[in-house]
């Protein structure tokens, strides 16, 4: 619950940064913060009270194979949000790098990082 609210507030703070800042790099930092907030919300939704990570080892059950699956089902949390976020983090870094590359390119052509200087790209 506290974690969910934290994630939501991080999303809103990142959105605030994206809306108000002028510098392109600061906008992208806002995007990164927002990304982290979304990941926190997604993972926190998959949490089940009092359960442990969905990796079966000796701390969960001593059984092996299918027997372990039956015994572990009511002891672990939901693995699906973890699997989603696992790839989303790496993709987020690649997308951030792509945005930064575009920002550098804009700086080289327009010689400025201020978003208000790129008037001709408004539509």
């Amino acid at each position: 619950m506290i974690i969910l609210i934290t994630g939501l507030l991080l999303i809103i703070i990142g959105f605030w940064a994206m809306l108000t800042r002028k510098n392109l790099i600061r906008i992208i930092i806002g995007f990164a913060v927002m990304d982290t907030g979304i990941n926190i919300v997604l993972v926190a939704i998959g949490y089940v009270k009092g359960k442990t990570a969905p990796i079966i080892d000796k701390a969960v059950t001593m059984a092996q194979g299918a027997e372990a699956g039956i015994q572990a089902v009511d002891k672990v949390v939901d693995p699906v949000p973890s699997a989603l976020v696992l790839t989303a983090i790496v993709i987020g870094l690649a997308v951030t790098a792509l945005m930064l590359a575009y920002a550098i390119r804009m700086y080289k052509t327009g010689n400025s990082l201020d978003i208000d200087d790129f008037e001709e790209q408004k539509w």
Binding site: N23, I25, A44, V77, S82, V90, L100
Partner: protein, 85 residues
């Protein structure tokens, strides 16, 4: 009990660091603040029982995010005055 207090501490630190990343003047301070947010997020992932995600966040947030932003900042810095940031 201890976990609940840890959650409060982590939330406070990450929220303050995120606000600091928005309001600070220099870009490099904002970059380091996003590193703090990433560290706290990684411990949070561990608390909600997702060690895979925590490990990915640790590997990305400890070095690569900072470096990617700093490379961009380096290219931008070239023509400006050199000492300020």
């Amino acid at each position: 009990m201890a976990e609940n207090i840890l959650i409060i501490v982590l939330s406070t630190i990450s929220l303050i660091a995120a606000v600091f990343a928005v309001v600070t003047k220099k870009t490099i301070n904002a970059i380091i603040s996003s590193g703090v947010v990433s560290l706290m997020a990684s411990i949070t992932f561990l608390l909600v029982a997702a060690p895979d995600v925590a490990m990915t966040e640790a590997a990305i947030g400890s070095g690569l995010t900072t470096v990617v932003f700093l490379y961009a900042l380096k290219h931008v810095r070239g023509q400006r005055s050199s000492r300020d940031d």
